[in-house]
Symmetry: C2
C-alpha cells in the first residue's frame, strides 16, 4: 500500500476537513505528521484517555464506540477515509468520549496535538470546516437520539441498515461493503443480538434484504425507508 507522504498529494483530502487548507497549511501538516498502521481489531484510542494527537484516516474502517455499564459496546459512528479521530477531545479539553477500533487493517496519519493546534491557529478556515462538520454531526446525533427513544427495534434496524449502505456503499455483489457481526449491528441498534438475528431473518423472509453469511444486501430500499420512517 502506497500512501503519499505529502498531504498535498493525498487524494483523501477531498472529503476531509482539510479540503480548504492552503498549500502552505498542507505542507505544514506533512512536515509534522507521522504515518501509522493498525491491524484489524486493534484499538486506536481508548475511551476516557486524553489523546496527544489526532489521526487522519487514510484508508480502512474504524468504529467509534462507548462501553455501557455492563461492558456492552454501543457503536456511535463509523470513521473512514478522510475522517479525523481525536480532535474533539483535544478541542473540548475533555477525555475522549468513545473508543476507536479498526474494523479492518487501517492506515492513518498522526498529527501531534501541538501541531494540530498550530494548524488551527494558522488556518481559521480549517477550524471553520471542523465546526461545520461538528454541527452536521450534532444534527445526526439528535436524529439517532430520537430514533432510539421512539422507534421500535425493527424500525431502528431498518434505519441502521440504510445508514450502513450509505456510509460504506456496496461491493461488486451488491452487499453492504463492511464486515460486521450481528452483535455489532445489535450494538448500533441498541438491542440484544438475538433480536437482530431474528429481525434480519424476518426482513429476509419479507424480501427486503438478502444475506449470505455475515453479508447483507438491501433489496427494497424504498420499503426499508418507509419501515424506518425516514423522510427526505
Amino acid at each position: 500500500m502506497d500512501i503519499p507522504h505529502q498531504c498535498q498529494f493525498c487524494n483523501r483530502q477531498a472529503n476531509s476537513a482539510f479540503h480548504d487548507l492552503s498549500t502552505e497549511g498542507l505542507a505544514e501538516i506533512s512536515q509534522l505528521k507521522t504515518c501509522v498502521s493498525f491491524r484489524k481489531g486493534q484499538v486506536i484510542m481508548h475511551e476516557g484517555a486524553r489523546p496527544q494527537g489526532v489521526y487522519c484516516i487514510h484508508n480502512g474502517k474504524v468504529k467509534l464506540y462507548t462501553l455501557g455499564t455492563e461492558g456492552k459496546e454501543q457503536i456511535i459512528r463509523f470513521v473512514t477515509s478522510g475522517d479525523l479521530i481525536g480532535y474533539r477531545s483535544i478541542l473540548s479539553e475533555e477525555p475522549i468520549s468513545a473508543s476507536a477500533t479498526a474494523l479492518e487493517d487501517t492506515h492513518a496519519c498522526y498529527i501531534p496535538k501541538s501541531s494540530f493546534f498550530k494548524v488551527i491557529q494558522d488556518n481559521p478556515k480549517f477550524s471553520l470546516n471542523l465546526l461545520k462538520l461538528s454541527c452536521h454531526e450534532l444534527g445526526e446525533a439528535g436524529k439517532m437520539i430520537t430514533s432510539l427513544a421512539q422507534k421500535n427495534v425493527k424500525e431502528r434496524l431498518a434505519e441502521i441498515l440504510l445508514i450502513l449502505n450509505t456510509t460504506f456503499g456496496e461491493d461488486e455483489d451488491g452487499y453492504i461493503d463492511i464486515n460486521l457481526t450481528r452483535e455489532e449491528i445489535a450494538n448500533m441498534v441498541g438491542t440484544a443480538t438475538e433480536s437482530v438475528i431474528r429481525l434480519i431473518s424476518e426482513l429476509r423472509k419479507e424480501g427486503y434484504i438478502r444475506s449470505k453469511g455475515k453479508r447483507i444486501a438491501l433489496e427494497d430500499r424504498v420499503s426499508l425507508r418507509q419501515m424506518a420512517a425516514i423522510y427526505e
Copy 2:
C-alpha cells in the same frame, strides 16, 4: 426586565460562546442585533426551517425537541442564558434539526445570519469557541445515545433528574428549578408518560426524591447517581 442593549454590558456573556470576543467584536454584534421576547409556549424556531439568524438567549428556558413519526416530542436538550440557537443549522447549511419552544417567558437577542457570518470571519476565536462547544455537546450526545440504547427506564429517569438538577439548579425550597410535566420528562427519557409517573412515585417511596405537584427535589443524589450508573 431591563436588558442591557449593548453586548459589552451583558452579564450573560461570561457563560456564552461570546466570552472571548473582543470589545470591537461585541460592539459589532450590538450594532447588528435586535432584542426579542417570547411568551411561554411560543415556538422560537421550527424543526426543518432554515433560520435567517441566530438567537442568543438572555434569560428564560427553552427546550429543543424533535417530533418523532407519531408526532411525539423527543426533548434533546435545554437552552438557557448565554446559549445560542440556530447557529448549527446556519453553519452546516442544513435545515434546523430541532424545534425550540420557550418553557417560560424568554428574552433573546437576534443576530441576522449575515452579521453572524461576519462576526465569525472577523473573530476566529469566536468560531473556535463554538467548535469547542460543539465538540463538548457531541460528547454529551454520545452519552445520551448509549444511555437510551442500554439503560432501562428507571436508570434513565434517574439520570435525567440529575441532569435537570445540574442544568437548572434548585429553587429556595430545594426543588429542581424548572417547570416540566411528567409528559415532558417522559419525552426526555424516551418512554411513556405513565411509566415516568409510576417510577417517580416509586423513587419517592424509596426516598430518593420528594415531590409536590409537578415539582421534584432530589433527596439522595449519591444513590441516584449509582442508580443511573453515572461515574465521574
